[in-house]
Amino acid sequence: MAAGGSPLLEELLREHAPRVLGALARRCGDFSAAEDALQEALLAAHLEWPASGAPANPGGWLFRVGCRRLSDAQESEAARKRRESRAGEERTEVTADAATGEDELMVHDDTLLLFFTCCHPSLTTPSASALTLRALGGLTTAEIARAFLVPEATMAQRISRAKQTILDSGQPFALPAESERARRLEPVLQALYLMFNEGHLGSSGPGLVRVELSTEAIRLARLLRAAQPDDAEVAGLLALMLLTDARRPARTGPDGELVPLHEQDRSRWDRAAIVEGIELVSRALSRGAVGTYQLQAAIAALHDEAPSIDETDWPQVLALYRLLERATGNPMVTLNRIVAEAMVDGPARALESLAELEQDARIAGHFRMTVVRAHLCELAGDRERAIVEYRKAASGTANLPERGYLIAKAARLEAEGGG
């Protein structure tokens, strides 16, 4: 096997990391200490396995090494306390008992608990995302820093602060009561969604899609769904990610430029992902209580199953956006609803709605609004105004592919008029 970071070794480690972390945290009752111990165990595996070959029971191996690190850490902490106070304290010794260790690995699946811990309500969403990527995704701090485009030292501090915040909250490492879980799931879903979006549409810089982060978010959403299979919003989020990511191959052109939905080559969409996403969201919707992730997934599904923009079920899309608008009150949703409205009731009606939305200070002047206005003017046949609006929109975004697309759009309209 190749040395160091061979893909197989990486995969093996990442597959076992969450389970081992759960077992370690259960052992010592301290998530933060367990996370440190796991990182050291992973490091040891990186050093030893390439030469000796992976052990027959990789999870058990990691758990034993992690336990040893935990007890070393406790020992030095106890020694420090003895020096300071001389008061002998009663403490539960963490020992590397191989047999019980493997039992713990077999019996408990702490995935859900780890999600709740990493996406603690007192953390900001970016911090929760970073910690989740490390604890459940098994990514290194350097990899997470690269994905979020911040220096490694910044990310290391963010993660260690996040762990400190969890520690300070004094919350035991235990599952919240059943009645609490839906509420506690909210920040978890939010963190995964941020991760996906950050990968799907980076807010700045030359790359439109940071694939790894999106792929990772999908992997984690699958993990969450396996741990909480009956939650309709978890299924909705996974479906939304799959249905959005399915279009990725057609979303960018050969030079990394943005290709909008209506110009995409639909034969390049990932059929398997679409089938899986549609099935997930259909089943989730049939359960009743419909949440916002399911609604967004349902809209994505309507787009994904349509053979062309004109054959899309726009009345249905519009109805779903209206529901979503009521549920979220988010002006971005209203803007999307207006685009759907243009397809159902025509651009004139949509332009009226847009004028209404301009009263909303949260979105007035935002370049997305200008993009929509340009698009509606184009649909309405007002070429001159469309060109002006596309140019104005282009100067309002720092996302380079998006900007390039808007400039090209204006130039094309101008050429059509001249020729």
Partner: protein
């Protein structure tokens, strides 16, 4: 969300700094060092740098024949210039504003805030959520 905080200096302000007492100057620098350390410890600091005086600046522009034209600038008569900047990565605009406000309150003569104007710009543009 990443933000750039640009600390604007003025020629007048820069010149008046030479009349600060050493203690006032020390307090100002210590504030900046402590401020950056706090941002770093919070996992929010991407990059912070102070810039050399504008008198030593150059402006480079691609010339017609392919050779770049290098000139002095931004010009001795410039009244305002970029003195330094921070790039921070924070969850919200509110947090970025709070950081900028703290930076603006850096102590000057008599230990009172100068106050420094801080221009705040988002890096890139994402739709509001």
């Amino acid at each position: 969300m990443k933000f750039m905080l640009m600390m604007h200096g003025t020629r007048k302000g820069w010149e008046s700094m030479s009349s600060w007492t050493p203690a006032e100057f020390k307090a100002h620098i210590e504030f900046m060092i402590g401020f950056n350390a706090k941002l770093a410890a919070a996992g929010e600091l991407v990059l912070a740098e102070g810039l050399d005086v504008p008198m030593n600046a150059k402006v480079i522009q691609a010339g017609k024949g392919g050779a770049p034209v290098v000139s002095d600038g931004p010009f001795p008569e410039t009244k305002e210039f970029l003195a330094g900047f921070w790039i921070v990565d924070v969850p919200s605009l509110e947090r970025a504003v709070a950081i900028a406000a703290a930076a603006s309150a850096a102590p000057g003569p008599g230990g009172k805030p100068i106050p420094i104007p801080i221009e705040l710009r988002a890096v890139g543009a994402a739709p509001p959520v």
